[in-house]
Symmetry: C2
Subunit: 387 residues, 2 copies
Amino acid sequence: MENTSSTVRLGIIGMGNMGSAHAKNIQEGKVPGLELAAVADRDAERLDKYEGVEQFSEGIDLIQSGKVDAVLIATPHYDHTILGIAALEAGLHTLVEKPISVHKADCERLIAAHTNKDLVFCAMFNQRTDPSYQKLRQLIQGGELGAIQRVNWIITDWYRTENYYRSGGWRATWGGEGGGVLLNQCPHNLDLLQWLFGMPSKITANCQFGRFHGIEVEDAVTALLEYPSGATGVFITTTGEAPGTNRLEVAADHGKVVIENGSFKYTRTEQLVPEHLESCPKGFEKPAVWNVEIPISGGNGEQHVGIMKNFANAILKGEELLAPAAEGIHSVELANAMLYSGFEKTPVEMPLDGASYEKLLKEKIATSTYVKPEVVKADVADLEGTY
Amino acid sequence: MENTSSTVRLGIIGMGNMGSAHAKNIQEGKVPGLELAAVADRDAERLDKYEGVEQFSEGIDLIQSGKVDAVLIATPHYDHTILGIAALEAGLHTLVEKPISVHKADCERLIAAHTNKDLVFCAMFNQRTDPSYQKLRQLIQGGELGAIQRVNWIITDWYRTENYYRSGGWRATWGGEGGGVLLNQCPHNLDLLQWLFGMPSKITANCQFGRFHGIEVEDAVTALLEYPSGATGVFITTTGEAPGTNRLEVAADHGKVVIENGSFKYTRTEQLVPEHLESCPKGFEKPAVWNVEIPISGGNGEQHVGIMKNFANAILKGEELLAPAAEGIHSVELANAMLYSGFEKTPVEMPLDGASYEKLLKEKIATSTYVKPEVVKADVADLEGTY
């Protein structure tokens, strides 16, 4: 499908941290093909600075205004589903922030609304633009690494202070956000995990709720993953640790890859491990290796701008999407399964039963006795990093 | 207790890989105070090279010979208990290879036999001599790191080929060895884990039996640990991965320590994390850090020789033991709990019920249908590394 016009009139719904950062990128001309045509937020103060741009209090009014060809939904999580469905039904191209929905059943509802395949439906998985993860995916998909045997991702550098959680009443509540670090910070990492290695068949997780912060949702998680192939994985995250770690280690039949601190290290076995293991006459000898350092250029990639460019080009030129929204169900399912395992203190077989999880989540919301401390109205953060 | 003689007459029982390596160190004069007075092995060929040293086919005969003041027990695992009890009851100082026994109940039996406290009773936890782990312990015990919040040990460089497992009929069987990587290779790491961080209150493990090798016991394990303080841990090991990893990461209230490849990196937060978390007015800001590289001299330490020197000095001069055998129960309990969790696919509350585990293990032995492939008689390995 090709658009005949040369620019896409974009409306952004939700002008908090993320929505305003996206608007800034567009207004600075970083995304050819996208024009900021409208913004919506229930907090009128947040709209003040968008002079000359159509303004709405309600996202649904923006969607139905006829003033935009496409929307970017950057509201609190639950509204991603509601507004995403409304936008698709209104015939708008839709870019939805992560997570695409709070739980698997909502993901299915949202994805089902994408009946008109002429509409581009994309998710903000900006970390897919990171050249390190792209390189790893290339090595895996090209067969270079051989079968994956073990994955270990320590992603504990999502540090957030107590004041972060006090900056919005919706934050870190079951009713407002539907989860903590797994739903807010980790969708990127969980998306990359499934993008790189596929989905596990079983998840056992320890979730700690309000361990480091005065919140009711999870802020520390350790999950043990089992894959259909027999491969194993560990995923560890928290918002309570400093300096924290972001280290992805992958053991495969052709050796080991470690991505950390911008470096990509591949320790390549000359012989495939299973072959050496079977044939080596000695008991303690290891296969010979090469220490390979793969230069990664382009820093962390284009990130949000890259996804928005791709979104625009998909609309205008039919370019293939790097992050189709339909794939966003996987990271949500992973997060849900970890929470389910953590709540019920039992391993969870995949695929997760979405209806059971939705029921459990609704119980958490209904029975919540959590009272948020006074909300501190924070300035919209200047997000230099990638979130 | 002080010995009036200037040398200790030592008998070594079990002249396989480890026993012969210990004998070599002693005969080369690396352990002042220890004299190799006797050796025992059921395989007569293994005794040939010890001319001028008393030789026995049975360990029990060595123990009762009156020719030695002390024994070093380096037999297959199950005999550690039987021979250890016999040696202590015969009034001999006793140094037992790891694991001190195969299961917790046997550990209790062995430790109970140490009634005469004039006898030095030590375990071969040679990795306690490693300056990196000693430094970490010092930082923890001295309070420098503050409370420990998270531990991650990836110890997957215990690579062993198929021929390693074929080199002895007892190897990697429930009846002969009582376990795989957890009982043979990991006692060191499990001992350090408890020496550094204490015992967890709960363990959930995925154990894979014969995943990489044609064996009936575990050769790949991922364990999730929960500590009484709320701290979490992950312990990952296998003998089927190359090049493998040995990386210990510790997150604490004063930052992070990583020990890997001989380096000791401490990223120290200037402010204690919990204080910063509570007081920082910004949402996304992290505490300032120092990047501290702590030089570690002395390589991996004196390892086996260090433990033997300490054993001799404890006998001759009353020196304090670095690795009292009684502490060996903890690493066995950790290994047992991981296996129990892996077998039963359920979390295990600590302390482990030793009687239940012994019963389970005996069932595994009784119901084993495993037939070992032909045993390849391997040369005794030249153990350059530390095992």
